[in-house]
């Protein structure tokens, strides 16, 4: 059968209100897992990147621990991390619902990526800014919050939106533990007898639309943040 014949045969049965409602719920689950996971991951990432600053954390072992966390979770595949979180939850008898497992895995993975991103942001601020702030006897955390952070948003923000985009794509792996997001919904619809071309094709289109929206947002953020002259400091 050709692609058009399959489409003509199955489209009226596939694009019903109930199927679309089901896919909409799945899309919502994908967004919940990736957005909440990313938010938690970024909070943790900020903490990790801040712990790596010698100005803030004088204890070297803590700094090393932060580096180790980042290097470890950057180098574990998301699928393996997810299965590890899933089975660890079972072994500890936490009875965690699937969405919690998904969000935890996304947050841990994101924390490593976010820490690198935030660190790049901190590094983009010239060291003289730190020195000046500390010389004026500002506490280290105040210096970070009032002097360094406002200048590093420009570097941190655009890649972080791209990170949310990549996590939206990574959450397709959460289908493997049975969390009903887009990929798992497509799988269920395929098992109900619809053509795999239509179900997975629709899933691809949904992912494409979400990613396209996020990528446009990232591009807009980049244009706005890098065009502001007040933020571009001339180098000596």
């Amino acid at each position: 059968m050709s692609a058009w014949q399959i489409l003509a045969n199955e489209a009226p049965r596939f694009f019903t209100w109930w199927n679309m409602f089901f896919l909409g719920q799945a899309l919502l689950n994908t967004l919940i897992a990736s957005v909440i996971g990313c938010a938690l991951g970024y909070a943790l990432g900020f903490l990790l990147a801040t712990l790596r600053l010698p100005q803030v954390m004088p204890l070297a072992p803590m700094r090393t621990a932060a580096i180790l966390w980042v290097e470890t979770f950057r180098r574990i595949p998301f699928l393996v991390l997810l299965l590890l979180v899933f089975f660890l939850g079972q072994a500890l008898r936490l009875e965690a619902p699937l969405w919690a497992v998904a969000i935890t895995a996304v947050a841990i993975r994101m924390s490593a990526l976010a820490a690198e991103n935030v660190r790049a942001g901190y590094d983009s601020v010239r060291p003289q800014q730190w020195e000046a702030a500390l010389t004026m006897n500002l506490p280290a955390l105040t210096a970070l919050r009032r002097v360094v952070l406002p200048q590093s948003w420009r570097v941190i923000l655009p890649p972080s939106i791209v990170h949310v985009l990549s996590m939206v794509k990574e959450t397709s792996l959460v289908s493997q533990i049975g969390f009903i997001e887009i990929t798992f919904a497509a799988k269920m619809l395929t098992q109900r007898g619809f053509s795999a071309m239509i179900t997975y094709g629709t899933a691809l289109m949904l992912y494409f639309c979400v990613s396209w929206a996020l990528a446009s947002l990232a591009r807009a953020a980049e244009r706005r943040l890098t065009a502001r002259p007040a933020l571009t400091i001339p180098t000596p």
């Binding site: 180098r75 574990i76 393996v80 590890l84 072994a91 794509k169 691809l204 992912y207 494409f208």
Partner: protein, 222 residues
């Protein structure tokens, strides 16, 4: 919870073979992707509009959708048209196409780093388009893009884990099999995670050596 690592240690040689396979899958897909990326980036920077648009569409489609669903599509939808792919073929084709899209984006940025004077010199010497790309642009691309390229190779090595979902017996696939036999899930997947860390560190060091000897790139390993 009690951890019994002694009961799963005998899987280690099996897992190491799987790790080798993961490196091979990543290397094959990366090599294919590098070629697609070179052609794609050449078209995007120098090609005519009617070629640029489809290439841009290809890049957008593959970078905006998950690799897993792309391979699902290849594996489950193509048989409807009579084209049946084996799991490893589907994974390799999917990963190569996916890598090609990302590497096109990465290499396009590298094309901008080629000095105009060298392009002019190539034109004066009567180089064809293909010769310019191969002899003048490619060496620049490799050198300036070394960090992003090696980073993408690491990401692809981690990405090979999704081959397990299609039944390919690489590291994660073997871990899933061992898990089904022994039920020592936490032990098995923590060992797997550790092996992936070792694997990517080895890959980082190898890439550093390759960059150092072949292209004289001065980059940090981490």
């Amino acid at each position: 919870m009690s951890l019994q690592y002694g009961q799963v240690l005998h899987y280690l040689p099996d897992f190491l073979l799987g790790a080798g396979m993961a490196l091979w899958i990543a290397a094959l897909a990366f090599a294919g992707g590098l070629l697609i990326g070179l052609v794609g980036a050449a078209v995007l920077t120098q090609g005519p509009l009617w070629l640029r648009l489809p290439v841009l569409g290809y890049v957008r489609f593959f970078t905006y959708t998950p690799q897993l669903v792309q391979i699902f599509f290849l594996f489950f939808a193509l048989p409807e048209f009579g084209l049946i792919l084996s799991p490893i073929t589907a994974v390799l084709i999917g990963m190569t196409l996916n890598a090609g899209a990302y590497l096109t984006e990465i290499e396009r940025a590298g094309f901008a780093s080629v000095p105009q004077a060298e392009l002019d010199a190539a034109e004066t010497l009567g180089f064809s388009r293909a010769q310019t790309v191969w002899y003048v642009i490619a060496p620049h691309v490799v050198r300036t893009l070394y960090p992003s390229l090696s980073n993408h190779y690491i990401i692809m090595t981690l990405g090979t884990s999704m081959a397990a979902i299609f039944g390919v017996e690489e590291l994660t696939g073997r871990a899933l099999n061992a898990n089904a036999i022994s039920f020592r899930s936490v032990e098995i997947f923590s060992i797997t995670a550790g092996l992936y860390i070792v694997l990517t560190i080895i890959a980082s060091v190898l890439l550093w050596l390759v960059g150092r000897w072949l292209f004289r790139v001065k980059a940090k390993v981490f």
